[in-house]
């Protein structure tokens, strides 16, 4: 990425505004995830309501940023690092919007559990733990974007493996729990959907980190782990 300014200061302004809008959207989504975790811990219904309501703002920001990107492409024909930035932003906002959706799913799960007269935190401490990890990934992927730091982004990508592993062990625990005590089935299923949402938040944070690596280094590193795994499995 070049630190030099464009001959057109208007272009610099447009790109700067685009980046700060993405960070604004990122901050909002990060807050939603944080609130979802709080709601899970405390069963606080006001937070649940706020999360669900913030969705419109997130959606509007996504549309506005996409629109700005389309205009910028049409008017400026960005190339090289500018092109990668705009292209990466279009993908990042899609992942951010999905993270917002997952936060909403968590909030709704919490509401169902509370309405059934239970507290989600009585069920899995494990969920809380991966939720914190996923939130950390979201934060760091956004920091990596703000600083255009691909090393930081790659750390986020590595962190996703832990979230995935922990998610699988939570699933096993919950399944055992359900088999042992039939009365817990309904709540366990809700907890499971919350854990699944958390795991997806981690996946989207990882995607964002991959987009950052593309923006900074021009390398497309998506699906590399998966392809390697598939190869190993087919060889085995």
């Amino acid at each position: 990425m070049s630190e030099n300014v464009h001959l057109s200061s208007q272009f610099d302004e447009d790109l700067g505004r685009l980046r700060s809008n993405v960070l604004q959207m990122g901050g909002l989504v990060e807050t939603q995830v944080m609130a979802a975790i709080e709601a899970y811990k405390t069963g606080d219904m006001t937070r649940v309501k706020n999360i669900i309501e913030a969705e419109h703002t997130v959606n509007d920001l996504e549309k506005a940023i996409d629109d700005d990107c389309a205009h910028l492409i049409a008017r400026r024909q960005p190339a090289a690092s500018d092109l990668r930035l705009v292209f990466g932003i279009i993908k990042i906002v899609t992942d951010l919007e999905r993270i917002g959706d997952e936060a909403k799913k968590i909030a709704k799960g919490v509401r169902r559990i509370c309405e059934a007269g239970q507290l989600p935190s009585d069920y899995g401490a494990g969920v809380r733990h991966i939720a914190e990890a996923a939130l950390g990934m979201v934060r760091e992927s956004l920091d990596a974007f703000a600083r255009l730091d691909s090393a930081m982004a790659e750390a986020v990508i590595r962190a996703d493996v832990d979230v995935d592993t922990e998610f699988k062990s939570i699933v096993r625990q919950l399944v055992t729990h359900m088999m042992e005590d039939q009365r817990t089935i309904t709540t366990s299923i809700d907890i499971l959907s919350i854990a699944r949402a958390v795991e997806r938040i981690g996946d989207h944070a990882k995607n964002i980190a991959e987009h950052v690596v593309f923006i900074v280094d021009g390398r497309d590193i998506r699906h590399q782990g998966k392809d390697k795994k598939a190869n190993e499995e087919s060889r085995a």
């Binding site: 070049s2 030099n4 464009h6 001959l7 190339a79 090289a80 690092s81 990668r84």
Partner: protein, 255 residues
């Protein structure tokens, strides 16, 4: 999708230096020219694009005081060894401003053939038609071949000049900012034509329109102050150039 085949070499500049008298306009240029591919030369005004382009058809030989060092190797017509007149026949050139001769449309295209001693009317008719068809202008001029060429529109004149260059069956076509005097529609027609022509000929094109370079070329070379800063696949140059100076130029930043 990017193709993985390795292209064959059509020509190659090796340590090419060029001097206008005392002034060195090209500095140690090394660059491959791939067969039946379009290579775009980009860079700020005065960086030596036209000078470099003209080295390929030995146009500089026409003026005293000009001096080369190094060489341009052409796999078929080792430019250093071959008669410059022969080279100019096999290397067509199209300039920024269309420059038809003040003759009929027909005679403009037949000119190169006549210079080569071709006087058989049937052969001339046939080759002129083919060149005009290849330059995508036949349908527009077939009923007015005896008319004066300078009466054509700018875009038509440029395609006529391309037909004139094509008539002698060149192996290499040089375009020096071929569309900078044309409107967008005429420009699109020329770009489309370049796309068709590369099935048969190798093309070098100088353009100061970066989007044009991105649209029409397979390879792009960025020149600065007489040096070749970066040469690479167009996709790579426009997505992830290696040199910061290239990056700054194509993104419109101040170096």
């Amino acid at each position: 999708m990017q193709s993985q085949e390795t292209p064959t070499l059509k020509a190659e500049a090796r340590n090419l230096n060029f001097f206008y008298g005392q002034m060195q306009a090209l500095k140690k240029i090394n660059m491959p020219v791939y067969d039946k591919k379009v290579t775009a030369l980009i860079g700020p005004s005065g960086c030596g694009k036209s000078t470099y382009l003209r080295s390929f058809n030995r146009m500089h030989d026409l003026y005293p005081g000009n001096r080369y060092e190094g060489e341009i190797r052409n796999t078929n017509l080792l430019a250093a060894d071959v008669d410059p007149i022969e080279v100019r026949m096999r290397v067509g050139m199209v300039f920024q401003k269309p420059n038809p001769f003040p003759k009929s449309i027909f005679e403009n295209v037949a000119y190169g053939l006549r210079v080569r001693g071709e006087n058989n009317r049937r052969v001339l008719d046939d080759k002129v038609e083919r060149a005009l068809r290849d330059a995508a202008i036949w349908e527009e001029v077939k009923d007015r071949l005896p008319e004066q060429a300078p009466n054509l529109s700018g875009g038509q004149q440029q395609r006529l000049c391309i037909a004139r260059a094509l008539a002698t069956d060149p192996e290499l076509l040089l375009f020096d900012e071929p569309t900078s005097a044309l409107d967008p529609i005429a420009t699109a027609a020329i770009e489309e034509l370049i796309h068709d022509l590369k099935k048969r000929v190798t093309i070098l094109i100088v353009t100061h329109n970066m989007q044009q370079a991105a649209r029409v070329s397979d390879y792009t070379a960025y020149m600065f102050l007489g040096e070749m800063i970066e040469f690479g696949k167009t996709d790579e140059i426009f997505i992830k150039p290696k040199d910061k100076r290239t990056e700054d130029y194509i993104t419109g930043r101040m170096g």
